[in-house]
């Protein structure tokens, strides 16, 4: 098959607030329901200031490590786990999701949540991952994490909160800069 050149991305801009968010967008399941946890964090710029106009998406396996194939992320029925959520940050740069701890998708694999980051001033979306902190053996042999320097690796691993939730911050630039991922084959990669 012919190879086509991908269409360029562009910034999400400042005015997505009435378009991309939707009812229960950040509630992959109802807050307080059995097994639910909070995933929260703050998005920071290169000066260490919170960014008030970013929007995040998460996509993950269910608690058993199964990849969901169910529709209903935009109109949630309250029972179906679709694996997808979207959270615009508030004025203090904080995002919040209600979700479950993803299970390992393969035996011995380190469970993680896939993340896409969009913001005004960010020219193109960025991909990253947030890993659960517990299974240190799995984390140690994870192909991505083991390819990173220890100080960079830390940026992809969430902290476990006393209430069972996860805290994970995103730093777009500077000290502790989050590792962002390039899934493209070598040619045409963005800079």
């Amino acid at each position: 098959m012919s190879k086509l050149t991908p269409t360029p991305g562009q910034t999400v801009g400042p005015f997505f607030g009435y378009a991309l968010p939707y009812t229960k967008d950040r509630e992959l399941l109802a807050p307080g329901s059995p097994g639910s946890i909070r995933l929260q964090g703050t998005v920071y710029d290169g000066a260490g200031h919170p960014i008030p106009d970013a929007i995040l998406e998460i996509w993950q396996a269910d608690a058993d490590g199964n990849v969901p194939h169910r529709t209903g992320s935009l109109v949630r029925d309250g029972y179906t786990f679709t694996g997808f959520g979207r959270s615009a940050v508030g004025n203090t740069g904080v995002f919040t999701f209600t979700t479950v701890n993803p299970g390992p998708t393969e035996e011995g694999a380190a469970p993680f949540i896939a993340v896409a980051v969009f913001a005004r001033g960010l020219m193109n979306r960025l991909f990253t991952r947030v890993y659960l902190p517990e299974d240190e053996e799995a984390l140690a042999k994870d192909p991505l994490l083991s390819s990173l320097e220890p100080d960079r690796r830390r940026s992809l691993i969430a902290r476990r909160d006393p209430d069972g939730g996860l805290t994970w911050d995103i730093r777009l630039q500077g000290e502790g800069e989050t590792v962002f991922l390039d899934f493209s084959d070598a040619e045409g990669a963005s800079k």
Binding site: T5, P6, T7, P14, T71, S190
Partner: protein, 302 residues
């Protein structure tokens, strides 16, 4: 280039900067014919254009020296001032997508009603402006249709005003136009929206900065790695050379991929002008199932 940057932006209070950056913070309560007060400290279009020109010339030289053509916007593109503190300074880390990343969230007709693709029927009356139909196909990098996937759009009204509360450009809101639409692609990857041609609008990147008319598009592929948000432009816009967001894509062929074409054959007499725009996502990393290869939509999975 870097030495020409106005470093004051690094010291700006982020919240104030963010609110005032692309909207008028102290917006007039009523329409002021003279327009909002101009910021005397703002940089001129000539300054910005010179910066963009220098980047363009450096890119042309790199191409001559054998560099590969760029296909995406630069994350580090200083003429878009808001990007200064918001671009990663380290190279993106190459990763092979794993399980979850090789699939995409499923959306279907449970999520999106067919009428959401018509932005002109969301209120009691007809919106003001030039009615248009924007249609095309979503394909992956191998040319396969992206079937049964979500497309979301949002845009300014015909006067160049967004509903968003931070947009305080003193142009009229249209009570009959919100500017948000969604659809699910057909088996052939096709989408079609009926809407109003958006107006250009001013923003505060520099003095007299105007965005070319555009429609924001949000797209999902069959794999999460194919996710993109972008902007579609209209052909022949005089603002292209002046706009740092469009210019952040330094390659002309790549820029052209964001510009729709006018289609007179599809234009509906005495009703709506037609524009076409196809979107290509990145290539697929996963071996497809037979259903996917046949173009099964999200609802098939229920």
């Amino acid at each position: 280039m870097p030495e020409e940057l106005n470093l004051d932006i690094f010291n700006a209070d982020p919240i104030t900067e963010d609110v005032s950056d692309e909207a008028t913070e102290a917006a007039p309560k009523t329409y002021a014919p003279a327009g909002p007060a101009l910021d005397a400290a703002a940089e001129s279009q000539a300054d910005l254009s010179a910066e963009m020109k220098a980047i363009g010339e450096a890119y042309a030289q790199a191409l001559k020296n054998g560099a590969a053509a760029e296909t995406q916007p630069r994350l580090d593109y200083a003429p878009y001032r808001s990007s200064l503190l918001r671009h990663p300074t380290k190279d993106l880390h190459h990763a092979d997508p794993e399980t979850i990343e090789l699939y995409s969230p499923a959306f279907g007709h449970m999520d999106v009603h067919a009428l959401e693709a018509d932005l002109t029927i969301q209120h009691n009356g007809e919106p003001l402006g030039e009615r248009i139909v924007v249609s095309g196909r979503v394909l992956d990098g191998d040319g396969r249709p992206v079937a049964g996937q979500l497309v979301e759009i949002w845009q300014a009204n015909s006067a160049g005003r967004y509903i968003h509360k931070r947009d305080q450009h003193p142009a009229p809101l249209d009570p009959n136009f919100t500017g948000v639409g969604r659809c699910i692609t057909g088996a052939d990857g096709s989408y079609s929206f009926t809407t109003i041609k958006p107006g250009a609008y001013p923003w505060k990147n520099h003095l007299n900065a105007w965005r070319p008319a555009h429609i924001h598009f949000s797209l999902f592929g069959q794999e999460f790695t194919q996710r993109i948000v972008t902007q579609m432009y209209f052909p022949g816009d005089q603002l292209f050379p002046l706009d740092p967001i469009y210019q952040s894509i330094v390659d002309q062929d790549a820029r052209d991929r964001l510009v729709a074409t006018y289609n007179h054959e599809q234009t509906k007499p005495e009703w709506a002008m037609a524009y076409n725009w196809d979107i290509v996502l990145t290539g697929s990393k996963r071996t497809w199932t037979e259903n996917e290869a046949l173009g099964a939509g999200g609802d098939e999975n229920e």
